[in-house]
């Protein structure tokens, strides 16, 4: 693989596809978009297959001096690899899920493909400013996707999404300029080893936190998320929940933790406090929703809070758990939004009360929905369990109280998800139109099947996903070792009980 600029090609393919779609007719654009995303998925699989686990930390590195002041620098480690895989895996499914879009199909597909360019670019960027450009440019297509193809309240939602995220990011931008001046480089791997003065770290950490907390989103700056999710078209929600929310977590693991370790410990309790509130409060809010998408949106906030506590546990379990929760949530919440989209396409309402008893007339749909519901709750055997278990095991080493509060979130999660499932799929068929809905079509099978397989794979054999990240997480853990906080759990393995050797029996044989 050496020499072949596979990451640049992965950016170029959807970009060319976007340009082609922009000028194409509706049917043509659908085909072009599907082909471009499938090609990128194939390239992603090639990338994973050629990723040398245990090799260099940064692989597939590309460097080119194209611009003034910063570089076209790409390269991935295991963490970035997994998130890129998540993006390219979800994209073809999003394109398939956009079947019900009738208005301006070419521009819609172009926006999605451009989104893919930026997502892959964000994860692969190795230059501070290149990262920022990719990170921030995602606002443009997402603003248009929500605003043009969204629901009735789309304008308010699109403004809120745009301005919230922009305000968070610009402060990070100033911090990046300062870092580039202080360290004399914009190269991210170098910056990850650079030790900023602890007093400066405080400010830098806060500036980055302003951006990532909004993106994540953390309580109390999460309010853009339910608005955006509810109004966005189905595929928009999938991308938003599946990948865009991961940008916040990626930011923490790539920037905040390795670059500002002292400040991360300093603000550890801020993160814990916000996360604990988020887990409990948003779970309770989710419990009373009448709108399916809003319910899943609030559950996303709760899951992301598990990610943040995992990240700030400063140990290997927490970090690995946070990564798996991110990947798992990307798949599961994406799939749940697809499930909502499937019945929305049939009945054109997201009102939970309008459904009921779907397991009678849509048994296959009910099966998939059940699987993803269970994965969201964290049932063993699904991906959700692995991530949440590791995260909570990690945080327990730091603070048993945080672990305790966050665990209640799991219980509440089971409550609102099962309650949702009961109202939608079980019970009497009270609504005649809902009872007449047909079961899954082939297209919907193709959308849900691969996600279900990935969820089970990650649940049963998470090692496939953990292995590429292990070395990177170990390196991060080593970087954080000097600031690792003392835990309250006092986990230690007691001295082994002296083995009682039966003197008599031992000697008895000799006689």
């Amino acid at each position: 693989m050496s020499g072949f600029p596979i990451l640049s090609v992965m950016l170029l393919v959807p970009l060319l596809g976007a340009v082609a779609c922009f000028f194409a007719q509706a049917q043509m654009a659908r085909t072009v978009a599907l082909v471009a995303t499938l090609v990128n998925l194939a390239l992603g699989i090639v990338l994973w297959a050629n990723y040398d686990i245990g090799g260099d930390q940064w692989q597939f590195v590309e460097r080119a001096n194209l611009f003034a002041g910063f570089q076209w620098a790409l390269g991935i480690d295991g963490i970035a690899l997994m998130l890129i895989m998540l993006s390219v895996f979800l994209m073809p499914i999003c394109i398939l899920a956009s079947h019900s879009i009738e208005k301006r199909v070419g521009e819609y597909m172009a926006a999605f493909l451009f989104m893919e360019v930026l997502m892959v670019g964000t994860f692969a960027a190795q230059d501070l400013f290149l990262f920022y450009i990719m990170f921030e440019a995602g606002l443009i297509p997402m603003y248009l996707i929500i605003g043009i193809w969204g629901g009735t309240d789309r304008i308010y939602a699109s403004y809120k999404f745009f301005l919230y995220t922009l305000l968070g990011s610009v402060l990070m931008f100033i911090a990046m300029l300062w870092m580039a001046r202080e360290a004399g480089t914009t190269d991210i791997p170098t910056l990850m080893q650079y030790d900023f003065a602890p007093s400066a770290q405080t400010w830098l950490w806060l500036a980055f936190f302003a951006s990532f907390a909004v993106k994540m989103p953390m309580w109390p700056v999460h309010t853009w998320l339910p608005a955006a999710h509810v109004q966005a078209p189905t595929a928009g929600s999938v991308i938003l929940a599946g990948v865009l929310l991961k940008l916040g977590g990626y930011g923490f693991i790539r920037f905040s933790l390795p670059m500002f370790p002292e400040a991360s410990v300093q603000f550890m309790w801020l993160v814990f406090a916000l996360s604990m509130v988020a887990v409990v409060v948003t779970s309770l809010i989710a419990l009373v929703q009448h709108d399916m998408k809003k319910l899943i949106a609030y559950s996303s906030v709760a899951h992301m809070a598990i990610v943040t506590v995992g990240l700030f546990a400063f140990n290997v379990q927490g970090l690995e758990g946070a990564m798996i929760v991110m990947l798992s949530h990307g798949l599961v919440s994406g799939a749940l939004f697809l499930c909502v989209g499937i019945i929305y396409d049939r009945l054109h309402t997201r009102e939970i009360a309008r459904y009921g008893g779907l397991s009678i007339n849509m048994p296959k749909y009910a099966l998939f929905f059940l699987l993803f519901t269970m994965a969201s709750i964290g049932l063993p055997g699904t991906s959700g369990f692995v991530g949440e278990f590791l995260s909570l095991a990690g945080i327990y080493q730091v603070s048993s109280w945080v672990a305790f509060v966050c665990t209640t979130g799991i219980i509440l999660g089971a409550a609102y998800m099962l309650y949702l499932y009961r109202r939608v799929c079980f019970g009497e068929q009270t609504n005649a139109d809902a009872a007449a809905m047909p079961d899954l079509t082939l297209r919907e099978w193709v959308m849900l099947g691969p996600i279900a397989a990935a969820v089970l794979w990650m649940g049963v054999y998470p090692e496939s996903f953990l292995a590429p990240m292990r070395a990177d997480i170990a390196a991060l853990d080593a970087r954080l070792a000097r600031v690792k906080p003392e835990g309250d759990a006092r986990l230690w393995i007691g001295e082994a009980a002296p083995v009682q050797i039966d003197e008599h029996a031992a000697h008895g044989g000799a006689h």
């Binding site: 611009f67 248009l144 699109s158 100033i174 300029l177």
Partner: protein
Amino acid sequence: MDLTSSLGLVIPELVLALSGLIMLLFAAWGGNDAARPVSIASCVALGGAFFLVAPSVCMGLSGADTIAFYGQLRMDAFAGLAKLMIYAAAGAVLVVAPAYFDRIKASRPEFAVLVLFSALGMSIMVSATDLISLYIGLELTSLASYVLAAFLRDDDKSAEAGLKYFVLGALASGILLFGSSLIYGFAGTTSFGGINVAMADGLSGGLLMGVIFVLAGLAFKISAVPFHMWTPDVYEGAPAPVTMFFASAPKVAAVALLARVSLEAFGSQPFAWQQIVGFAAIASIVVGALGAIGQDNIKRLLAFSSINNVGFILIGLATASVAGASAMLVYLAFYTAMTVGSFVAVMMLKDAEGNPLETFGDIRGLSSTQPALAWCLLLIMFSLAGIPPLMGFYGKLVVFQAAVEADLIALAAVGIAASVIGAFYYLKFIKVMFFDEAVDRAKGKSDVAHWALLAIATLVISPVAWLGTGWLGGLADNAAATLFFAG
């Protein structure tokens, strides 16, 4: 330094002056029929001047060889780069104006002549290294501009714009002159180099007052807060091509002049003016952003947008460093492209009879009736808002980079946070065009020249232009370095 070599240095200005005079005669005898030939010929003259100036920029000329007329003017790379932008913007105005005036049957050849003289004045402004030549250039530009603002004599709004611009402009010129006389009185010289030396020993109260008055006068010309009040009224009242001209070329000239005065004449006492400039920068960003929110008229909104942009440019000046001056030039280059693009697009908005449309209500749902125009405007608006990967972001990147390097972190943080307010009304533009139901009022066809200019402007601010940043940055760095040449 004899007269011949001085004349040799000012050949571009001579070309403009002579062609301006000749065109004036054509205009006087040719009547309204001469409008089109005169504007084409003026465009050619500007093009000629452009290519005469270009070598000095590419070679990064500086030093004693560039001084003309015994220190009155300096034809260095800094002046050259500013002139390139001025000529390009003025040329663009001449390209789009005839069609506009033809449509409203107000086509007169004086327009092109006035633009030529104004461009000549701006040329002198950016090259001036003496308070006297500064004033001559400034007044030549301003007098031509007053007439241009009132170009539609029969239109009340245009006449009002001309009068407002004249009265306030004359006041500003008076303030500037008063400041200049104070400086002359206390420094004993009008040359920038001499003032610099005189100030190096310390800043007397009289000199400080002079500095303040000169800066106030120039702040009026670039419409920086708190001297911005005239801008929305003049921009709204003046005919669209004139507004496009005001928002682009004179702004470049006045900003370049301000940079030269601040960094060369007052360069030995940066602390005397850095705070003033910093305040004006933040105030412009905030007022420009807040003022635009309630506007319904597109030209008025763009007026506030230009105030907002001047704020960002002034952040570059507030650093008082080479990097800051270079960043200003880069920002100006993209600002000019965005301004030209947005005003050309505004001119392309007209109903079936060809009457200009100027309010948000008229462009609702433009994306479904005129998709190409709407998408170009979308890119320009995101660029003005400073969203990557468009080039408006690159302008902000270099300016804020310079500010952070000069340790003006608070200024940078406040400035960029306020830019989010600005993003709101640029988004409104996109919301109206893309999210609202179509009203299909903008039906008028536009000619090739408009489309071509819009396409060029859009290309300049599109992500493709990232590849040119190295080249542009190099030019701007060289140009900015000539400012700090001790002479």
